[in-house]
């Protein structure tokens, strides 16, 4: 992959250019790659932060780690405008239906990242009142382990999501496999 050269004085590359045909005055590539490139660098995350992993996320958004460098500086507090649901923290069983409703309100295409041991598996809260992993109620794309994970790990998870977003086929969300997967969770 080549780098799209930015002709400003700084010479900083904004994004990687996808493979394609290039000639005098034109560049041709597939629509899927262009859409993937655009989506990847403009993910709007919805932070669903319930405990200490949420604090780590705040550090991730802060100046030192700065998630804005990955095109995600705009948090969406409305699920209808969000692309990525970030679940960070312990989800009690009573919170389960709320989380599920938030997921259902998001428009396709949507992705989910589960940050921290509690969201992934219940963590240390192996007890009657805590949901033993959010993947029991909604599908999850990327798991970030840790108790809590450091901001570097959260950024690594976001980059994994970016990779999924970039390489996803435009037809995936219409496929029978995808619908069957959602049906497994009782969605739609």
């Amino acid at each position: 992959m080549e780098t799209v050269t930015n002709h400003s004085a700084s010479g900083i590359a904004m994004a990687e250019r996808p493979d394609g045909l290039e000639g005098a005055g034109f560049f041709a590539t597939s629509l899927e790659k262009v859409v993937g490139l655009a989506r990847k660098n403009s993910i709007w995350p919805l932070p669903f932060a319930t405990s200490c992993c949420g604090i780590e996320f705040m550090a991730t958004m802060g100046a030192h780690y700065d998630l804005a460098r990955f095109g995600s500086e705009r948090l969406s507090f409305s699920p209808r405008q969000a692309d990525l649901l970030m679940v960070m923290g312990t989800i009690a069983k009573k919170m389960g239906p709320v989380l599920r409703q938030v997921y259902e309100q998001m428009a396709e295409p949507r992705w989910v990242i589960s940050v921290g041991a509690c969201a992934c598996s219940g963590g240390i809260f192996d007890t009657y009142s805590v949901l033993q992993g959010i993947d029991r109620i909604i599908p999850v794309d990327v798991y970030v382990p840790g108790c809590p994970p450091r901001p570097e790990q959260i950024i690594d998870g976001i980059m994994k999501i970016q990779h999924l977003v970039e390489t996803e086929s435009l037809r995936r969300r219409d496929s029978n496999e995808y619908k069957a997967m959602l049906n497994k969770y009782g969605i739609e």
């Binding site: 069983k93 009573k94 598996s121 219940g122 192996d126 007890t127 009657y128 009142s129 033993q132």
Partner: protein, 164 residues
Amino acid sequence: MSSSERTLEILKERFEDEILQVETLYDFLTISLKPEKIVTIIQHLYDHPETKFQYLTTLSGIHYPDQNQIAVMYQLHNLMSNERIRLKVFLPVENPRVQTLTTVFAGANWLERETYDFFGVIFEGHPDLRRVLNVDEMIIFPLRKEYPLEDQTREDKKDSMFGR
């Protein structure tokens, strides 16, 4: 005469037959009572000019699996003299019923809901006895000791990993 002795004396004047046991645990006067008249007793301690236990600190349940009993524990506070008292009533596990305290303290409402939620104690006359903290679909009373603390649906924790 110490203030806790005086409290006990006031209680004995009218409710001598209701008292099962009196003990002082960590300087905290604890009186076990028969459950039938508990609300009348608390009302009396509320109204009496020398006790004035007009603040309900807490109300909770305790499961005693060996005795096959569930206790309901009330802690009262006299804000004038800064005295505290603990009252306990014992109920059978099969049918734990006691009169509601919401007629004396409105603040007992959620405390009794919590006690119902976790121990299954039925407070007769309670205006809205529903679960308050756990999910509505829950069919057990999780703080009774016959129920395991751990979530039984968890698959990644094998007993062998914990030497069980």
